[in-house]
Amino acid sequence: MEKGKISSLQMAIMLYPTIVATAILGAPSITAKYALNDLWLSPILAALIGYATVYIAYKLHKLYPKQTVIQFSEQIIGRIPGKILGFLYLFFYIPITGEILRGYGDFIADSFMVNTPIIVIMASMVILCALIVRGGIEVLGRAAELFLPVFIFPICILIILLSADLDFKNIFPILGDGIMPPLKGAIIPGGWFSEFFLIIFLLPFLADMKKGMKYGMVTVFAVMMTLVVVNLIVLFVLGSTTSSKVYPLMNVSRYVSFGEFFEHLESAVMAIWVVGAFVKISVFYYAAALSTAQWLNLSDYRPVVWPIGILIVEFSFWSFPSSMEVSRYDIIAFPFHGILMQTIIPLLLLVIAFVRKRNKGTNTR
């Protein structure tokens, strides 16, 4: 199936853009709707879901090393129910990849390429992702390593160049309305943090499995810190208007003006976004292709890569008639859908697996 091996550092480097890429653009405004000026606290609360998901995934991996959720769910809850659950996962990961792709396409089409048909933007991205998915997990890991600086440096530069526009007073009052607003605001980023369940598709290919847990947790922490910093920057620059913007980081980047030459850094944001979306879609795409192949008991996942690519493009159109629907799904459905599929069901699987193992232990005694 997959013969490649990656290091746990590579896994962390793959996961970090996977979560952060979409989160830094959309999350600040969505969080701000509920948490107001406490939006920087929400990622910290939401990260708890991330920690829990990584923990659950790692425990499941310890019980069934070398297997992904598609394979071991059959062993935990039986063949037929396992296949049904596997299908549910397929039907979760393929459309969700389509949704991410649609989000990417909408952003590019709305902000930069107004006259370009969205299908061109999306199809070109899927072709690139299919190429890298066919290359295997090693290639994916190496590409992620190369793209990480592209992802981090522009954010750092943005922060430095924005330092003149920061208004630190916007942070007050801290917790003016109690803990409830940031808690509500944490639910939606929580959906993003539940995506850490993707780790279950990467753990079986680690060369150093023991470090998997550690690096998973480090990644959650890094994502949390990034979101806190981005939310703070957005809050400092935009203040209470944050929630009215669709992509606050874009608006923030327009504030940059340095020596009358470094202006209009939107292109830098676009570079971050395209590269981040590329890694994110590739990792999801890889998970979708791998689980499809495993669900069908194929010997290799490469033959299904192109068909699934077409499915992903189709889903990105079928599921969402307009970009309004995409953000509605992001806010209303995904946090619950994502947490259900990626945190709660794995938790149930883990509990069942533990109970069965204990029963087996007592039976043999």
């Binding site: 290091s7 550092l9 590579q10 590019i108 930069f112 390429m113 370009t116 061109v120 933007i121 070109s124 991205m125 690139l128 190429l131 890298i132 290359g135 090693e138 290639v139 890991g141 190496r142 590409a143 390593e145 190369l146 793209f147 009358e260 030459f261 202006e263 209009h264 939107e266 292109s267 676009m270 570079a271 395209v274 590269v275 590329f278 069908l296 008991n297 194929l298 010997s299 290799d300 033959p303």
Partner: protein, 525 residues
């Protein structure tokens, strides 16, 4: 049903039936026989219509009929006269017995080898060693008297430098191997040679340092070289294309150099060097992308300037790949990304230009590539004419005529200069070629197209391997310690470890902590 599908899928992966190979070497496999005249006749038939092959018959010690066969111009005529013919043709009453032992022991020639097969006779003759046959002896004698005209050791033309050895490889394999041996005197330097090419019988030598190189690498190279069955090897480029990992990649996966010092440093890092007869360009494998854009002089100069020059090269490599594309994208799609004043001056200069930016850029870039190619092939006397015409036509006339804008000329010129910054010519070629598809992408999708193109190149590079070593190592997969030779050039006393390739081998190349710590005058003990 699912099983059937998977079976089907598996079936499609099975290999097509192997096509029968009709191309085989037909070497005469007969041995020489005891009949002197029959042997001579066989060889005469083989060398029918070869006017350069000389058959010199004489009487050995005035009694035995003998024949000396050699090729004119490949053998040392004076040596033959002085050391072979004149002592052997002396008439003497008592012929020394046994004759064959006498020949091997007493003839004043450094290399005498007995040959038994017709094929070996032919090989001996064709590399210039005269063959001696005489009556009553079933073996031939191959005399090491080959000598032919060769070029002297000169300064390498394609890889110049300010500091460092000025010697380059030349076309003779013996000279090249001796140059390596002169630098690396240890007997651990091994050379395995083989012959490739049905007609050319080109000698190819694999050089490596025992104990530093991964044994499986040498095995792999040998297997790939033995696979080659073709008429002739005229240049190491033939071999390079036959043994590459990914033949469809624009990037070279094998480094070629004509500098013995570069080859030696690669040997000392645990790489293998493939020397090919008839060309000064030797092949080095495995290589990574970064070794293609490092120059030997990075190590000969002080480390600070080495590091800075390396970064200059990285920056200009990116410029060489992307600058025209950026210019096109900005002019066509992203006006807002440029400061207003700059945009206005660019727009003013483009006012008279009738072409869209992408066409303008393509015209200029293609013209530049043509000029460059013309300059390489032309005789030196005409070369200057080309450069004058090029400078006038491209630089001035086209701008004055309003066909091309002045900023575009600047962009093309900077791109051209930056593509000359690549220290290895072959690495520059890949960048030069890839510039054009990215320009097309920039003309159609703007900045997004450029990013897409770059992502596609990165995917390809991540996929690529050179003899099993990831092409982008040590950056991806990340090997923290080895970045010392990629992101910066560490001082010599900090480069304690060799780069790691496939296997685990001897890691340290010098004893650690050798940083100079001179004592000051007042601190003397």
């Amino acid at each position: 049903m699912i099983r059937n599908v998977s079976k089907l899928l598996r079936k499609t992966k099975e290999k097509k039936p192997h096509i029968q190979n009709n191309y085989q070497d037909s070497k005469p496999e007969d041995p020489l026989n005891g009949e002197f005249s029959q042997n001579v006749e066989t060889l005469r038939l083989i060398y029918d219509n070869c006017s350069d092959v000389m058959f010199r018959s004489f009487l050995l010690f005035g009694k035995t009929r003998a024949m000396l066969i050699y090729i004119e111009g490949l053998s040392d005529i004076e040596g033959i006269e002085e050391y072979v013919l004149s002592p052997l043709m002396q008439e003497s009453a008592n012929v020394p017995q046994p004759l064959n032992d006498f020949l091997v022991l007493k003839m004043p020639v450094s290399k005498v080898k007995r040959v038994k097969m017709i094929a070996d006779c032919i090989e001996s003759i064709s590399i210039g060693n005269p063959l001696l046959l005489y009556e009553g002896e079933s073996d031939g004698f191959s005399l090491g008297l080959s000598k032919w005209e060769k070029r002297a050791i000169e300064e390498p033309v394609a890889e110049g430098g300010i500091r460092g050895s000025r010697e380059g490889f030349n076309e003779s394999l013996e000279v090249n191997t001796s140059q390596l041996r002169r630098i690396i005197k240890s007997p651990a330097l091994k050379m395995q040679s083989m012959k490739i090419g049905k007609y050319t019988q080109t000698t190819v030598a694999i050089a490596y340092i025992d104990g530093l190189v991964d044994k499986t690498l040498i095995e792999e190279i040998t297997i790939r070289l033995e696979r080659i069955e073709m008429d002739g090897i005229l240049e190491s480029g033939y071999i390079e294309e036959m043994i590459e990992d990914n033949p469809y990649s624009p990037f070279p996966q094998i480094l070629s150099t004509e500098r013995p010092d570069v080859a030696s440093s690669c040997l000392l890092e645990g790489r293998a060097v493939i020397l090919v007869e008839g060309t000064p360009f030797t092949l080095i494998a495995p290589v990574s992308f970064f070794s293609l854009i490092q120059s030997q002089e990075d190590y000969y100069q002080r480390f600070m300037i080495g590091t800075l020059i390396r970064w200059l090269r990285y920056i200009f490599m990116v410029l060489s790949l992307l600058l025209p594309s950026f210019y096109i994208a900005i002019l066509t799609f992203h006006h807002e990304a440029v400061p207003t004043a700059l945009l206005l001056s660019m727009a003013a200069s483009r006012e008279a230009v009738p072409f869209p930016a992408i066409i303008e850029a393509l015209i200029m870039e293609i013209t530049f590539e043509a000029l460059r190619e013309a300059g390489v092939r032309l005789p030196k006397q005409i070369g200057s004419a080309v450069s004058i015409v090029g400078a006038l036509v491209i630089g001035q006339a086209s701008v004055q005529a309003g066909l091309v804008s002045a900023p575009m000329v600047i962009v093309v010129a900077i791109t051209g200069i930056s593509s000359f910054m690549m220290p290895r010519y072959i690495a520059g070629i890949a960048i030069r070629m890839l510039r054009f598809p990215i320009m097309l992408l920039a003309g159609t999708l703007g900045l997004l197209g450029i990013i897409m193109g770059v992502i596609a190149i990165v995917i390809h590079l991540c996929n690529l391997r050179s003899f099993g070593v990831p092409y982008l190592a040590p950056l991806a997969p990340l090997k923290g310690k080895e970045l010392k030779d990629v992101l910066w050039r560490s001082p010599m006393w900090m480069m304690d470890t060799r780069p790691s390739f496939t296997g685990k081998s001897n890691v340290y190349r010098q004893s650690p902590e050798q940083g100079p710590k001179p004592k000051r005058g007042s601190e003397t003990e």
